[in-house]
């Protein structure tokens, strides 16, 4: 080793590293200062905590099985009748903003003033309540403020929830996840599959599929790029519904002269054939 252990040195390093040898010995502090029987965290104390945990876990799992997570209908921004509702633990703040003296012109008080004061005070509680006393009944101001806040939070939440229930009743609406559940149960009782609420866009149908123009297009390799089901490829437009986008003249022009990647067909096809194809393509409109 490059250097031996010299007790005259001010800093003593561990081994040949630059890690200082600390004076702290890794012996956990004991709790002899506290009365009663202390015990080691693992495994003795953790086992007891785990017993409490198991009680909570069983209750939690019973809840998850008894009440599936709610799911309504897919978001529809055009739905004007939907009554918006935040999660229950935000209701007190939501309700607060409904009072006239913290909304409208005074909204700053509602979104910043009162919540800022309340949460700011909570965040900085140890610096506001600096006394040595820990028992809650010996520090009446802190405890009273906390109790007052608790009561207001519970009250605001309750008012907000009752208001929501009243709104539901007045408008005769049922929450969507409940309607969905009822419909699924009805279908199940009738032995039918659950009604699907996920809408998929229907493919656009081909108009006049037995027209000879389609056969003509197959012979001229149109479908090798536009796909045999006429749905197109990446960068190549689908021919289904193309009549909604272009007129017959425009289509005839593209087939005759080409456009971008589309080759010109004026040498391969006669004008009559191009007209036949363009006529057929212009008929490819989405069914209403």
């Amino acid at each position: 080793m490059a250097h031996g252990h010299n007790s005259k040195e001010k800093v003593v390093f561990v081994g040949d590293s630059r890690v200082k040898k600390g004076s702290m010995v890794n012996i956990p502090p004991d709790f002899t200062a506290f009365p009663g029987k202390s015990e080691a965290f693992i495994p003795y104390f953790l086992l007891k905590e785990w017993m409490v945990g198991v009680v909570v876990l069983v209750g939690f799992l019973v809840l998850t099985i008894a009440h599936p997570a709610p799911l309504g209908y897919p978001a529809d921004p055009m739905n004007a009748a939907f009554i918006p509702m935040p999660d229950w633990y935000f209701l007190f703040m939501y309700q607060l903003l409904k009072y006239p003296y913290v909304a409208g012109d005074y909204v700053v008080l509602g979104v910043m003033g009162i919540p800022g004061l309340a949460f700011g005070a909570l965040l900085l509680a140890p610096f506001l309540d600096t006394g040595k006393e820990r028992r809650f009944y010996r520090r009446p101001i802190a405890s009273a403020l906390m109790l007052l806040s608790l009561i207001s939070v519970v009250y605001l939440t309750k008012v907000s929830w009752d208001h929501y229930q009243g709104q539901l009743e007045a408008t005769g609406t049922k929450p969507e996840h409940i309607i969905r559940e009822e419909k699924a149960r009805e279908a199940y009782e009738k032995g039918q599959p659950a009604p699907s609420v996920v809408k998929r866009a229907k493919p656009i149908a081909i108009v006049a599929e037995d027209d000879p123009a389609l056969e003509l297009m197959k012979q001229n390799n149109c479908l090798s790029c536009h796909a045999s089901d006429l749905n197109g490829n990446s960068g190549i437009p689908a021919l289904r519904g193309i009549g909604d986008q272009f007129t017959k003249e425009e289509l005839a022009n593209v087939v005759t002269n080409g456009n971008g990647n589309m080759p010109a067909f004026k040498d391969k096809l006669s004008a009559a054939e191009i007209d036949q194809i363009a006529t057929w393509l212009s008929k490819q409109k989405k069914a209403e």
Binding site: N26, P28, P29, F31, A33, F34, P35, G36, K37, S38, E39, A40, F45, K48, E49, M51, V52, G53, V56, L57, F60, L61, L63, T64, I65, P68, A69, P70, L71, G72, P74, A75, P77, N79, F82, I83, P84, M85, P86, D87, Y89, F90, Y94, V107, V108, M112, F119, L122, L123, P126, T130, G131, E133, R134, F136, R139, M146, E176, V197, V198
Partner: protein, 223 residues
């Protein structure tokens, strides 16, 4: 055999002091529910962590099916809920766990407050705990949008309107979260990223600080 593996690692990394620090410390009687039943109030912190672990695990399984885009988000949640084996259970755990974690954290905060445990020298740990509280609220807020049903959509719309009414910064906050003019495709991906990466990252860092300080300072004494 485990002893052998432990010794092999210990020879090289000297993990015994670390193990002592994490596991071998003494826990005093006044927080032990086996000695005093009322000491169960001291369990709320541990239960908050327990539910948080459940949230992280169930959330990891949910992302195996969830697709964060406006066309497929609802369909993927619907599929997960009704078609995937135990998918409904995992989603219910995440849904109800989100509420339960708020409840447990609330009770833990009240316990710490009314026992005066936030007083010197534990001020910093209280502040970190409050920051964890805010992160949890943020997780609840962002997670609410992800199923992309009407309830999620309109609640988020209202939330962002409220955010907009903050003086000066409001419109910027709204645009940052919205990712545009309306609640739409960008909003969903942003909320997903915040819910799954940003906030959990911050949460884990704060939890580490919280636990480190508890170990460093020990639990507060009996009243």
């Amino acid at each position: 055999m485990f002893k052998g593996i432990y010794n092999w690692i210990d020879e090289r990394l000297d993990i015994t002091p670390m193990w002592r620090d994490v596991a071998d410390h003494e826990v005093p009687e006044h927080v032990n529910p086996a000695h005093h039943f009322s000491a169960f109030v001291y369990c709320f912190g541990g239960l908050t962590f327990f539910i948080t672990v459940i949230q992280i695990l169930s959330g990891m399984f949910l992302t195996m099916y969830y697709v964060p885009d406006i066309i497929n988000a609802y369909a993927s949640v619907d599929y997960l809920q009704h078609k995937v084996a135990f998918g409904g259970i995992v989603r219910a755990m995440h849904h109800w766990g989100a509420s339960l974690v708020i409840v447990m954290m609330f009770l833990h905060t009240l316990r710490v407050f009314f026992t005066g445990s936030y007083k010197a020298p534990r001020e910093m740990n209280w502040v970190v705990g409050m920051l964890i509280f805010f992160i949890m609220l943020g997780l609840g807020l962002t997670g609410y949008l992800l199923p992309w049903d009407n309830k999620a959509y309109f609640a988020t719309k209202v939330t962002l309107q409220i955010a907009e009414s903050v003086p000066y910064l409001g419109p910027y906050i709204k645009e940052l979260l919205n990712g545009g003019e309306i609640v739409g495709a960008q909003t969903l991906t942003r909320f997903f990223a915040i819910h799954v990466f940003f906030l959990p990252g911050a949460l884990l860092a704060l939890l580490a600080a919280h636990f480190f300080m508890i170990r460093k300072q020990g639990i507060s004494g009996p009243l």
